[in-house]
């Protein structure tokens, strides 16, 4: 199993109030799955994605990647694991403004052991895969929202991660562009067997995924896809 989440709870303080963001979530995700995490605002979607993305730690429970408990790793090892295993696509794209599209895609490669040439070749390949081969030297402020998100997807793909986590990747895009982004993700999932987990509110996008995880008040609620209103 690629990812096992075992009875994960997450609480945090908001002023004097103790907020229980996740109240014991367990889920297994196999390689090649295309999973959407849905739920109303405050249901714990982002917290859940942060925990499986290893950028946050659970209050209790385990997040296990390929049999390794992430909470037992040092920060350095967890960071290296994140770099090689997990790709991120953010709602606001989070591209580095002083870098070109190509340099942005090269970034996670240069954090690892890739040489500059290897990183450049791989980044070119990934940008071609998302249809941006003509925009490699453009900086983010010269790209449209959809193009920026495609650069972000190319960046997430660059290290050939086992899993890509996307927190509302289409929230800042119009519906046509959103659909294009989902299609790109679907194609990569089907063609290269890359696991995708993303959160969304958009019912049209939810229809396109194989598996939906519904969250409410920090719990997984089993629902059918068509039940979302």
């Amino acid at each position: 199993m690629l990812l096992s989440v075992k009875d994960v709870k997450k609480t945090y303080h908001l002023g004097d109030v103790l907020v229980e963001a996740l109240r014991g979530i367990s889920i297994d995700i196999a390689e090649g799955e295309f999973v959407s995490v849905c739920g109303p605002s405050g249901s714990g979607k982002s917290t859940f994605l942060n925990l499986i993305g290893t950028i946050d730690t659970p209050t209790s429970g385990q997040v296990v990647y390929n049999g390794q408990d992430v909470s037992l790793m040092s920060d350095r090892k967890r960071t290296a694991m994140r770099n090689s295993t997990i790709g991120f696509v953010f709602q606001s794209f989070n591209l580095i403004p002083v870098f070109t599209a190509l340099e942005n895609v090269m970034l996670p490669l240069t954090f690892g052991k890739s040489s500059k040439k290897e990183a450049r070749d791989k980044a070119m390949e990934m940008l071609s895969a998302v249809g941006l081969e003509k925009f490699v030297q453009h900086k983010p402020n010269k790209l449209s929202g959809g193009q920026r998100q495609r650069v972000a997807i190319a960046r997430a793909l660059a290290q050939q991660p086992s899993i890509i986590i996307a927190d509302e990747p289409t929230a800042n895009l119009d519906s046509v562009t959103s659909f294009q982004i989902i299609k790109i993700m679907q194609e990569l999932n089907e063609k290269d067997d890359i696991t995708f987990i993303f959160s969304t509110h958009d019912p049209r996008l939810i229809k396109e995924v194989k598996r939906v995880v519904w969250l409410e008040d920090g719990h997984i609620v089993k629902k059918e896809k068509g039940d979302l209103s």
Partner: protein, 409 residues
């Protein structure tokens, strides 16, 4: 990721802020360079002036005890002609010694026949004096002391004015001989000159050694001034000479030029203190400017830091990124500072600006030397300081919770 390239791109993200920080570093750096260059030029000028202009030489040899007790019992501490032979035999073996100049200091009363006042004088062979001051051409009225005029002397400007002495006048100089008898000799005023310092310009006379010896009724001298082939040999020659003279059974005490030139030491100490003060102010400006800039940069780029960490950048690399930006700011600031220093040095040189330093009667031109050692040392120090100043706010950034950083607006 090329951290240096990233750093240079980032410092131009907020051009105005980076410009002000770089400007602060440049101005501080220029201040250090200009004052350092001015101080070094002053030290150099004072050194040359002390060794050759004042005639202190590189080393001065006295009979042991002269400096402490010579005033009370001068006869006991004179260097006799026999002593001279011993000393010259020792010195002739050291090729670093270029010239040995015997001198005799005398003091007493000088009179124009109506009025009299105190004087201090130095007796030196005119040919030795010519050798010593070959790079300091005589600029006073009349002519300097000469072996052709054994009774001719140079009288300080204010002393001549006080006694209404003119060129060609004859003054009488009076003093006790070494035996304690009153003695008087005539001095022809062959030159009137400005000593350059107010402390001596109203009492100094330079005369031939033979005249000074005649006044004190002696064939001895009280000191030997040594000129060396290289000022860097001053201390080694002093040490070697002390040992060699001891072996030759002559107890000597030897002073270096900077030990004898109180003015040089005082000016150097004062300039060093001012330089230290300016350096501290510049450090404070650089540290506060860079910390302020980098703190604002960290706050503005918190989400970016979170992104980089999420993508797998180690904490230590965050420190490297901001440290490199501090380095880049420091580097650009010092490069601009070097260019500005060069321009200002040329402008000051072309401006021909003069001033009267305290205690100096002649105008001194402001000259600022381009001193690579000061520029390199202080430049590297400022760049290092910028680097360290950038590390302080970035260490906090590296410890940020990634989720909080990503959610930062």
């Amino acid at each position: 990721m090329n951290i240096i390239s990233f750093a240079f791109r980032n410092i131009f993200r907020n051009k105005r802020r980076s410009f002000i920080t770089i400007l602060a570093i440049s101005i501080g750096f220029v201040a250090i360079n200009l004052f350092g260059g001015y101080a070094m030029n002053t030290f150099k000028s004072l050194k040359i002036s002390a060794i050759y202009g004042e005639g202190i030489g590189h080393l001065t040899v006295y009979k042991e005890g002269f400096l402490d007790n010579g005033t009370l019992d001068p006869a006991k501490y004179m260097i006799s002609t026999d002593d001279m032979k011993t000393i010259e035999a020792v010195m002739s073996k050291d090729s670093r010694i270029v010239k040995v100049i015997p001198k005799l200091s005398v003091s007493g009363l000088v009179s124009n026949g109506i009025n009299s006042t105190i004087f201090i004088a130095q007796g030196v062979n005119p040919d030795d004096e010519d050798f010593l001051k070959k790079d300091f051409p005589y600029s006073g009225e009349g002519s300097p002391i000469s072996s052709k005029k054994p009774t001719g002397g140079q009288v300080a400007e204010k002393l001549a004015h006080m006694l209404n002495l003119k060129l060609g006048d004859v003054a009488t100089i009076m003093a006790n001989t070494l035996d304690g008898q009153m003695n008087a000799v005539d001095l022809d005023v062959s030159g009137i000159f400005n000593t350059g310092t107010a402390a001596t310009n109203d009492k100094f006379i330079l005369m031939p050694l033979s005249l000074a010896q005649s006044l004190y009724n002696t064939e001895s001298v009280d000191r030997l001034v040594l000129l060396l082939n290289d000022a860097n040999n001053t201390v080694p020659v002093k040490n070697d000479l002390l040992e060699a003279l001891k072996k030759a059974d002559f107890s000597a005490e030897i002073k270096t030029w900077d030990e004898l030139s109180a003015f040089y030491s005082q000016v150097k100490n004062m300039f060093s203190m001012i330089f230290f003060f300016i350096f501290c102010i510049v450090l404070l400006i650089v540290v506060t400017s860079v910390i302020n800039t980098m703190t604002m940069s960290v706050v503005e780029r918190t989400q970016e830091i979170g992104t980089l960490r999420a993508l797998g950048l180690q904490k230590t690399r965050i420190l490297e990124i901001f440290g490199a930006e501090g380095f880049a700011i420091g580097f650009v600031g010092t490069v601009c500072g070097i260019a500005a220093t060069l321009v200002l040095i040329l402008a000051i040189s072309a401006g021909d600006i003069t001033y009267y330093p305290p205690g100096i009667d002649t105008p001194v031109k402001i000259i600022v030397d381009f001193v690579p050692s000061i520029i390199i040392t202080s430049g590297l120090f400022l760049i290092g300081l910028s680097f360290v100043s950038a590390i302080i706010p970035s260490s906090k950034a590296s410890r940020l919770n990634i989720v909080d950083a990503l959610g930062h607006v």
